[in-house]
Symmetry: C2
Subunit: 365 residues, 2 copies
């Protein structure tokens, strides 16, 4: 392999794929990034066998070929290179790569590309397009509700359910977020669980807002294709809980409230509850919501104007769950729908009916 | 104590003093910040018994008094307050403080101000003024060469030596930095060692470039006074090494070289030496410096144009020591003066003779 390129081109590719590099896989070759030049394209690939990311960048190819280069060192060196033309040439015999810039050069020891796993293909697929802007917004609205507990894998993922619409659902069993969007065409119904980590990486690599992304779902893999980048991920096996049964159909009281007011109050109250039980109390009165917390650190009492429809009542929530939900709602005003101190609270944007998040209450007294 | 103030005023004071708060002192009251209102000034004080910082801010005092408030919670709550007038009132009996903002309020449990240590005074003093801009520049040029090894305290500090000039010297025994400045008036000669941590905090609180700072040095304390802020620190006891004997008076070769060129080359070479012996080699030729490193990660070979006066030679340095020295020199071009592979290298700005830093070589082969 021998190519001419620039620092900027290399860095774009490296930064795109490097999060798929395996941090602690026992297979040394997975600490590397596969470089493969063909025609005038350099394909960089990284995988930890769960996620794979591939990024194609335009270069001048002098000699086709491939090599695997340690991700950490190549990224750090490229980041420190001057802005001059860069020659990259691999000695396939010794598995080393020579990087030439101005009158200087660096040589890195790499790995044999034959040892690098092949990029997975997706079969039996269902495929659709969606704008990156829309997908990023959707993912942000549900990802916060995923669990990080690897012992119960289904809760670490997001359900992608295609029926008439595309519905995304995430829950860590204490809270749940649900987003619905219409699809451009009718598709076969399917339900798959995509790892939260995959989707977080996807959010990170969707840097261009005006692009379409193609999502392809196969038997055990999902594939996300942008113009120059492809991300493939395994799916999570298992049965996603019957979320419909958890979501209350009615409410006894509904508050209309400013997200900014409630979020800021909840954040201040949360400061006092950290390290403790994280409980903040909501006392819903006719035209006012009183947010309180009382811990060994101190007490807080906040008053917020609301519009109330229905009964006055009291309910307690985990402060972090409430602030997470409010930070990700993407609206200025919400409805908070309640059925009493032992029933979940449902948060919906005032101006849209395609989204809700739900928080189980904390039992007090 | 009862005062009217603003979020901005409180935050300025809290951020100024909070770094002196004791992170792990067994005395609980030292985790707090003393608030004392008198006339229309709120004095905030924090100390870990090594460093004390006091900041005076203008407020409207309704009732004079004092209280100690847990630093962590008051800072976080104030940071989250809305931009509205803020009432702070202490209940001295129960050692609690009530913070009122709009229609909401928070109460924090505090400590009895009688348990808070008194701010140290400085006696037998020598005192002089210097501009904050100049002092910050001086400190930056020497602080990097201090040691963090608490077992040898003198090397964790910076020598302040007043004779005809003020000379600052820092060394961790592997490298040394020395800065000289003239003083506005003649002072009694003195040599004291000020903790590096004190001086780092001082750099942080000197936010205004157009201010004079008064430095007062007593028997066991140094005091730094800005317009609204005072920092007091203990001095380090012990004998600072005879630095004059270490600095070579002559050189066999002197290179004139661009700081940017050498720094960038050394940084790239350093990437390959991390985790290893950190050694990079300089091969000084007639019009060129060749920087190389060779480790199990790979090899690097960089060429930099220089002006050489004297002999060609080879010398090896610790890569981090070289990059630290170059990052802090504050000039575009340096002289690197050498006496051979076993003698220290001396780095001086080309355009000034008030500063030098010195690095011991690494013995190779």
């Amino acid at each position: 392999m021998k190519i001419n390129t620039t620092k900027e081109t290399l860095l774009h590719g490296l930064q795109t794929v490097q999060r798929a590099v395996s941090a602690k896989n026992p297979l040394p070759v997975l600490s590397g990034i596969m470089f493969k030049s063909k025609n005038n394209v350099l394909k960089m690939t990284a995988t930890d066998l769960e996620i794979g990311i591939e990024c194609n960048v335009p270069v001048t190819t002098i000699e086709e070929g491939s090599i695997v280069i340690p991700a950490k060192y190549i990224t750090e060196i490229v980041r420190k290179l001057p802005d001059v033309p860069i020659d990259l040439s691999a000695d396939e015999e010794s598995s080393t790569v020579l990087i030439k810039y101005s009158t200087s050069e660096a040589k890195l020891h790499g790995f044999n590309p034959d040892d690098f796993p092949t990029f997975p293909t997706v079969e039996n697929e269902i495929s659709f397009e969606i704008s990156t802007r829309k997908l990023r917004e959707m993912l942000k609205q549900v990802l916060f509700a995923t669990s990080t507990d690897e012992n119960r894998p289904v809760f670490t993922g997001v359900l992608f359910e295609i029926s008439e619409n595309l519905t995304l659902v995430a829950t860590d069993t204490h809270r749940l977020a649900l987003k619905k969007v219409s699809l451009p065409e009718e598709l076969l119904p399917i339900k798959v669980i995509i790892p939260g980590r995959t989707l977080s990486e996807l959010v990170r690599i969707m840097t261009n807002d005006d692009e379409e992304i193609t999502i392809t779902i196969g038997g055990s893999q999902a594939l996300f294709a942008l113009k120059d980048t492809v991300l493939v991920s395994r799916l999570i096996e298992g049965q996603f809980p019957a979320y419909d049964q958890v979501i209350p159909k009615n409410y006894k009281s509904r508050l209309r409230i400013s997200v900014k007011d409630l979020l800021e109050s909840a954040e201040r109250a949360a400061l006092l509850t950290r390290g403790g039980n994280q409980t903040i109390k909501l006392d819903i009165q006719k035209e006012m919501l009183i947010v309180t917390a009382n811990t060994e650190i101190g007490e807080i009492h906040e008053e917020i104007n609301i519009y109330l429809e229905g009964e006055c009542m009291q309910v307690a929530f985990n402060a972090s769950y409430l602030t997470d939900a409010l930070r990700n709602i993407g609206s200025d005003e919400i409805y908070l729908e309640l059925n009493g101190p032992l029933s979940p609270g449902v948060i919906k944007p005032v101006d849209k009916d395609d989204y809700l998040s739900l928080i189980l209450p904390v039992r007090t007294a």
